[in-house]
Symmetry: C2
Subunit: 343 residues, 2 copies
């Protein structure tokens, strides 16, 4: 996060004001609260956006603990999780340029779970509710179609000598409605209704494709260049974005933004990587790109583009200077300095 | 399926008796029933095992239709779905040799779904139940540990000049208990309890590892050779096995077996591939290997091994003779003949 902050300070015309707010498992261990009310209140009252640092989460059940980012997404109604996954410019092989749009508030992430114990055998059975609403599904589909069109325009405006990966914007709707015909059926049906709505005009501008989530993971690895925008319910989106990250070298470069109607939280897709904590070699690229993505969704596409370009230059031209996850011998600090110089 | 049948006829010492039983979407379209009761009754009364051919399923909701393989797994209590994924012997790169054990009866596959309409807005919300029981989780974990040990023994008995991929058997438990602390928490806890049970003796013989499902997909693509046996709840198992298939060249080579206490159904992992239907170029390897896997779980490891070896020889030595999904110009029939010759 420190790297992202320095880059924002250097890149923005006016130095932004920062507030440090607490959340996470370490805080929970000290205080019993993972996401304090003050954090949410401060965000709502004093901030226009936020960056969320990678937190560690216990893999085992800890009574009372619950992931603060999942709670924040819901409490701030950040209904879209936007995850661009692109191979570095100038790399070898066919380029990858995907945008994953993950529904961010429902599915199994409503975290409505319960456990029952059989009075006779004493054996336990646990249940979770999966929620898919028409409203959230339409809303996320609409964002996906809008963004596909916007990406198409940017590509058309860019250097036309570069062969176009996606001649016409394409949206892949990911679901598993062959098994979950009601919930994923509703997700699918809502996306199709938005697509076919003549008032919205998506049908002529965008190619629509569907993919069952299992086949999606398969195809992503067989022909990743075939995807443009993919839209998915929450859990599928979580899984496919980690999969897509594997295609572009490292989770350490993949950014995300949690986007709502009036707030954005930038968040690197990676976790806290306890194996390298404190060694100073964590890749700052995901955090820096998440800061840029945050600016983009705040409307400052210009500064965002400058940051992206500086990062891309470092990734493309200084392989040895990158952090160990990308095969280099650089550090968090040296990569950050290189990005700052390139701004 | 025809290919698998021919191979079984040629490989088994006694020619087996076959019964053709109906199921699937085409049957549903003709008769309104996807899985006739007679099919289940015949299986239970007259058969010792079965092969399930790839069926097409509609991606949209068709009133009354429901996937016959999902229903069969439940009605025959085939609680384990076993999916070996290995790179061809003698291939380049570090070899992959994974066995995915997918829980086969619960999770979101209980297909308990409902839809509500808001009386004021008219908007719909759909719900699905996800079930994770201690009993099914313990049962599937136990199978995973048992199979890891068995694989370890086979490796030890095999040519020791080959460097060992997994010096000690390893089981990776896949879950998402950082979000689903109750359901995936119970899956995880049950697997750990089986592992730590001194009466079962797994702890000294097997290395246990945990992986969140999103990271699992990431790691599978970054270091697939690191996995030995992976065990997962139903839906995660579905997704990671398609992902693993992408690592070994084609879904057209990946077999599975649906295993219960007293019945086995072999089933290729791939679907019906409508794009190549009727062209005679569908890869028969997944179906042939599924037949061998079925024999293996019936106790005839010897015939199974002969079939596997014949398939491996064709895959390794005749690249041009393979089907188009593997880059060759062979046909279903020519590949089948090659396997038959190699038996
Ligand atoms: C940390 C975890 C709760 C989170 C999620 O599952 O959403 C993470 O995996 C992510 O992708 O942002
Ligand atoms: C066809 C479908 C219902 C099935 C599943 O999801 O289990 C398939 O994808 C599989 O992996 O066997």
């Amino acid at each position: 996060m420190h790297a992202a902050r320095r880059v924002l300070e250097a890149a923005l015309p006016e130095p932004p004001a920062f507030v440090d707010l607490d959340a996470g498992f370490e805080l929970f261990q000290r205080t019993g609260v993972a996401l304090p009310d003050e954090t949410v209140q401060e965000l709502k009252s004093r901030c226009s956006c936020a960056l969320f640092g990678a937190v560690s989460s216990p893999s085992h059940k800890v009574a009372g603990y619950s992931s603060p980012i999942v709670a924040l997404r819901k409490r701030m109604d950040l209904f879209a999780n936007v995850r661009p996954v692109a191979s570095p410019a100038g790399g070898s092989g066919r380029p990858i340029d995907m945008l994953i749009i993950r529904e961010n508030t429902e599915c199994l992430y409503v975290k409505s779970e319960r456990i029952e114990t059989d009075p006779v055998t004493g054996e336990r059975t646990a249940w979770a509710d999966r929620k898919i609403s028409e409203r959230a599904s339409r809303r996320i589909a609409r964002i996906a179609f809008d963004m596909a069109i916007q990406r198409g325009k940017l590509r058309a405006a860019a250097d036309s000598s570069v062969p176009q990966l996606h001649p016409k914007p394409k949206v892949t709707v990911v679901h598993k409605s062959n098994v979950l015909s009601v919930t994923d059926g509703l997700f699918r049906e809502s996306a199709l209704a938005v697509y076919n709505d003549p008032l919205l005009g998506f049908k002529d501008a965008v190619v629509l494709e569907e993919q069952l989530v299992d086949s999606m993971v398969y195809r992503m690895f067989r022909e990743p260049h075939a995807f443009d925008v993919a839209v998915a319910p929450n859990l599928y989106g979580d899984i496919i974005s980690d999969g897509a990250a594997a295609l572009v070298g490292s989770l350490g470069v993949v950014a995300s933004a949690n986007v709502g109607d009036s707030f954005v939280i930038g968040e690197p897709v990676h976790g806290s990587a306890p194996d390298i904590a404190g060694k100073g070699v964590a890749n700052p690229v995901a955090a820096i790109r998440s800061a840029a993505l945050m600016l983009e969704y705040l409307g400052d596409a210009h500064t965002a583009a400058r940051i992206y370009a500086a990062v891309d230059r470092v990734l493309a031209s200084q392989p040895n200077a990158l952090t160990p996850d990308l095969g280099g011998s650089g550090t968090t600090q040296s990569v950050t300095e290189a990005v700052l110089r390139g701004l």
